[in-house]
């Protein structure tokens, strides 16, 4: 706004007087708008969505698709900005510290927000955010090679008390999948060696190449290898079975009390005003509920589940408490 006023003054010949006048006007407008009218004309400038992972990844493409859909409902453009680093914690920190005016939002997945604060010294917790919309989720799962002796989860659980040491791989320390594996092996007491990889696809490659015995990761990312007949998913961490994996049981069905999922959601800094959040929630709910977006999340191997501001925040807080407990157990 200020730039515009300056620009028009410079072209119009009488700089000093007009400039002063416009500065006065601008300052007044800014002051007034800051106090009351924030929500009325929201958004009056471009909205930025911070994605805490690199361009091109699953979370990034989902966030960009959501932003594209939501742009239809705003008069202003939405820019997606990648602030990657340290498993998403760098971008999450930036989002938590952003000005709570609704112009800086956060699109993330569970790892950085609900597990990292329990294992790393990061300057934020889930309490630094408030919800706008939850768009999708994916469970975790464990998988083995097709030629593995463990045909079912029960075969695997039968290793309890034996001397077999299982080489378990996963997508990185402190993430959702690592935490779930930790919880599973703690509960069953099965012996293991823990081999972290940088990213789920490398863990899958290591499993297929026979370098590890078992991996934890999202079942969607394993689909290709499952269809190729190379690996077998033993169990899912969702509450119910998935249509895409017929016959694969959940941990809960088999008597192992592990239910946890990776969620994708749009959040705002904690102090964002209610009226602004209401406007954002309405638009992004519409965007997330559109057929195009739902179809997109399915292609990204996520389970579509749209939650409103209140529900997603409740879910995030519950997840955070759950993961905190598992991580503390060591």
């Amino acid at each position: 706004m200020f730039k515009k006023i300056l620009g028009s003054t410079v072209t119009s010949g009488l700089p000093s007087v007009k400039l002063l006048a416009s500065i006065a006007v601008a300052v007044t407008i800014t002051a007034v708008s800051a106090v009351s009218a924030q929500a009325a004309d929201f958004p009056s400038k471009p909205i930025t969505i911070i994605v805490p992972y690199g361009a091109g990844g699953g979370t990034d493409t989902t966030g960009r698709f959501l932003a594209n859909e939501a742009e239809k409902y705003f008069s202003q453009p939405i820019a997606v900005v990648n602030r990657s680093g340290a498993g998403g914690t760098v971008g999450t920190t930036a989002a938590a510290a952003a000005k709570p005016d609704g112009y800086t939002l956060y699109f993330g997945a569970s790892d950085a927000l609900v597990t990292a604060p329990h294992s790393l010294k990061v300057p934020y917790t889930v309490d630094n955010f408030r919800g706008i919309v939850g768009v999708s989720y994916a469970p975790s799962s464990i998988a083995v090679r097709t030629d593995s002796p463990w045909k079912t989860l029960d075969d695997f659980l039968a290793e309890k008390g034996t001397d077999t040491i299982i080489d378990r791989g996963h997508s990185g320390v402190g993430g959702v999948h690592h935490t779930l594996l930790k919880s599973l092996f703690l509960e069953t007491g099965i012996k293991f060696r823990d081999i972290p990889f940088q990213g789920g696809s490398k863990a899958i490659a290591a499993l297929r190449g026979g370098h590890v015995d078992l991996i934890g990761g999202t079942p969607g990312s394993m689909m290709a290898s499952v269809e190729a007949g190379e690996i077998r998913v033993l169990a899912l961490s969702s509450a119910e079975q998935l249509d895409a994996f017929p016959g694969v049981p959940t941990f809960k069905e088999k008597g192992v009390d592990i239910v946890a999922t990776v969620e994708w959601y749009l959040l705002a800094p904690k102090d964002t005003p209610d009226e602004v959040v209401a406007i954002l929630e309405e638009a992004f709910m519409k965007a997330a509920s559109s057929d195009e977006f739902k179809a997109f999340t399915v292609t990204r191997k996520q389970e579509s589940l749209v939650r409103n501001a209140k529900d997603i925040m409740a879910k995030v807080k519950a997840d955070s408490a759950f993961f905190g407990e598992v991580i503390k157990k060591k």
Binding site: T61, R64, N82, T89, V90, G174, I204, H211, A228
Partner: protein, 499 residues
Amino acid sequence: MFENFLYAISVVFLWENIVLIIVGTAIGMVFGALPGLTVTLAVTLVLPFTFDLSPESGIILLTGVYCSGTYAGSISAILINTPGTPSSAATAWDGYPLTQKGRSLEALSVGLHASVIGGLISAVALIFFAPMLAKTALAFGPPERFALTFFGLTIIARVSGVSLSKGLISALFGLLIASVGVDPIMGVPRFSFNTFYLYGGVGMIEVFIGIFAIAEIFNQIGKRAVMAQHSKSDSQTKTIRWKEIVPHYWTVVKSSVIGIIIGVVPGTGGSIASFIAYDEAKRSSKEPELFGKGSLEGIAAAESANNGVTAATLIPTLTLGIPGNTVAAIFLGALLIHGLTPGPQLFVNQGGLMYTIMVSFIMANIVMYFQGRLALKWFDKIVNIPSSILLPIILTMCLVGAYTISNSLNGVIVALIFGCVGYAMIKFEYPSAPMVIAIILGGMVEESMRQSLILSDGSPMIFLTRPLSLAFFVLTIFVTFSPMVIKQWKKRRNGGGQA
């Protein structure tokens, strides 16, 4: 197979697809040539536009961006000593000295030709060897990956220049920089000095912008006497011709094959390929002393290798569903969006699409060649701008690049700090090449080594009992010590003859 091939040609030569390739390569060239704007970012920004296209057209557009983006990293490496992509780091070692000697157009010409040939060979390899090579990719577990990256590290000894101890110190600092950030195995932060930004490690591109470009700006500003440092481009070469590349055809073929082999291993990428190819070219060159001071052969090796990676990296992506690098991961996403699941059956069920990918890689490289011929003459004019105007332009590009890579000023601070480090290295004659190699490979070396040792309960024998890993270590020893042995042997023979 033949009808699939015909189908692919009929698709790629639809006029709208030709337009897409032209647009895609142009976008890639701009992003690749500007430091800080990466190929990955270009492909990501283009991706949403492919949603409305057919799978074939979408892939064609992405291919254009990918090929020329990888190539164009060499343009800024040669002209302003800043690799636009990490995989062009080796190109800067010889390209920039040539620019300083006024032979920039020759360097650009060799870079373009080598890239195009590397890309073409890689495209052919994709279709003919994909299923076969895919199996090799799976054989690379942690020990094999360690052996490969360790092999890459030993190149340091041979790019150190006059003083081996300075080269080693430079490399050790590179390793130290690579160790900053959250540890890959334990997840504890290292050397963060209570700055949260450093949890994510020191950004690679930011460091390169500092060490290469900002250090060079300081260097130029400090030189009182000679201000017009860049001598004008007045070499005999006025146009871009095939002739330049002909003497290096064997280097180009060899380097392309190195690029393909390394491209197949997921998660290694173009930079290690270009280092290994560069090293091999230097080893077998008739003029190894020119390397690092302005060798056209060095550029040919580095550029054909990193473009040799382009199509090859799609082999594990398409056949196994395991992306070889970040760009391949986006390709994977693009296929998934169109309901195509990668895997061995993709070649059976979607033969037409597979051939379309190959043909579009070939087309992209051809279009890129002609675009490059047109654009390079203009790019080359950059060198003729007086340095009082050029330096502020480069500086602004550096600041913008360092900022946009992570969208924060922290990146700019890192670039400025490493600008000072780089300047000190120039002044005290420490080579920067070893540091760059160490920064790129350091993380991979440590991660794979520790993964291996966890698997073996601490026994280093794991590196020697696995055939592929053992083979790489034997190769490492051979390449490291054979020059010395040959030298000794020649000396002895000559001495014997005289006596």
